[in-house]
């Protein structure tokens, strides 16, 4: 199958998604997806991650199970997700209705020098998610497709999975707060109030 060249801009995509975040909880993967979320506007209910590669979707699962009334959006990279493919199966079995896993798929390990990932060679993450038991999964190449998915990210019963194909164009670094304890505390305080420090 011929390769289809991505055309969407990651910063615009993530900004559009987060414009509608409402009271959703956002779990970005390490590196560029975290910078994308920071660029869209700092928010205490975004758990910026600077490490833990391969764990982002499972962090989303634990959070979604703990907060069944809140929508949880995992927004991660193709490389990050490929490191934790088993989590698709674990999430598919648990079927959290409030979880969406979104991959900002530039088909490369951007952070480390733009080496192609398996998705560049045709590995189909949404097909894997569907096979693992996600309730819906798809790939977005165009702006109209993204628009159609937008309400699904926030409302369609999960778990849902969407791979958004984006270019490898450079995006300026926007670095959020770095210290893990600070990111954790402000997230819990915003979500749990006084219970955060019990």
């Amino acid at each position: 199958m011929a390769h289809r060249k991505p055309i969407l801009d990651r910063r615009k995509v993530v900004a559009q998604i987060l414009e509608r975040r409402g009271d959703a909880l956002i779990m970005p993967g390490l590196g560029a997806p975290t910078w994308d979320c920071a660029a869209a506007g700092d928010h205490p209910l975004t758990f910026y991650s600077w490490g833990g590669m391969g764990g982002c979707a499972m962090m989303g699962l634990g959070l979604a199970l703990a907060q069944p009334r809140r929508r949880v959006l995992v927004i991660t990279g193709d490389g990050e997700l490929l490191m934790g493919l088993g989590s698709l199966a674990s999430i598919g079995v648990q079927k959290p209705r409030n979880l969406a896993v979104i991959v900002i798929d530039n088909e490369h390990y951007g952070e480390t020098g733009m080496q192609p990932t398996h998705t560049r060679h045709g590995v189909d993450l949404p097909a894997m998610a569907r096979a693992a038991g996600f309730r819906a999964a798809g790939t977005v190449y165009t702006a109209p497709q993204l628009k159609a998915w937008m309400p699904r990210f926030y409302r369609q019963p999960g778990p849902i999975f969407c791979s958004i194909k984006v270019t490898t164009a450079d995006a300026p670094l926007v670095l959020p707060v770095r210290e893990g304890t600070a990111i954790k505390h402000r997230f819990r305080e915003a979500l749990l109030g006084g219970r955060a420090y019990e």
Binding site: G51, G52, G55, M58, M59, G62, A66, V93, G180, K184
Partner: protein, 176 residues
């Protein structure tokens, strides 16, 4: 001998401690030594028992659980400790509380040589990444040790691993 066929009580002692400590999410990769505890957690409507494909998934999942205000516990065989190391770095940096219960293989009376290397590395590897390690050498110590570990983990924001000796699990449980 009749006592040899009776199920051990220490797994249910741990389960009772989980209840008292308010554990809501239990993530695991199975080990024969954990089978009774896993069954008890699955049967409990107030708990979510989550089977993983690899142990590090559970480390990440319970970090997410804590962010959402829930406490969890992670069950595994000692072989799984090595799978968790980098993810435990995140636990350390963010000071996430984490309660891990490991059933040991590869030391007391082990017959499988492939279990020995990771068994030897379990304590040094966990210590190196900042996990406090506590051990259970007798069945009747299990409840109080897990209770103490839970208090340490959740009150001080630390990762604590309780290692249950192969001596406690008993050769009877192997291969089941």
């Amino acid at each position: 001998m009749e006592t040899a066929t009776r199920p051990p009580t220490w797994p249910l002692d741990i389960y009772e401690v989980f209840k008292k400590a308010g554990i809501r999410q239990v993530a695991y990769v199975p080990d024969a030594g954990h089978s009774l505890l896993i069954k008890a957690c699955h049967a409990d409507k107030a708990m979510r028992a989550v089977c993983l494909t690899t142990e590090e998934e559970g480390v990440a999942m319970l970090a997410g659980a804590w962010l959402g205000g829930e406490r969890g516990a992670l069950l595994m065989q000692s072989s799984g400790a090595g799978n968790c190391i980098n993810m435990l770095g995140m636990i350390n940096e963010c000071r996430f509380p984490l309660l891990m219960i490991l059933t040991m293989r590869g030391h007391w009376g082990e017959f499988n040589p492939w279990q020995v290397p990771m068994s030897q590395a379990t304590v040094p590897a966990l210590s190196a990444i900042g996990v406090t390690v506590q051990t259970v050498d007798q069945p009747d110590e299990a409840g109080e040790t897990v209770a103490a570990a839970a208090r340490l983990a959740f009150s001080t924001g630390r990762a604590v691993a309780v290692l249950i000796s192969q001596r406690v699990i008993g050769s009877k449980a192997f291969g089941k």
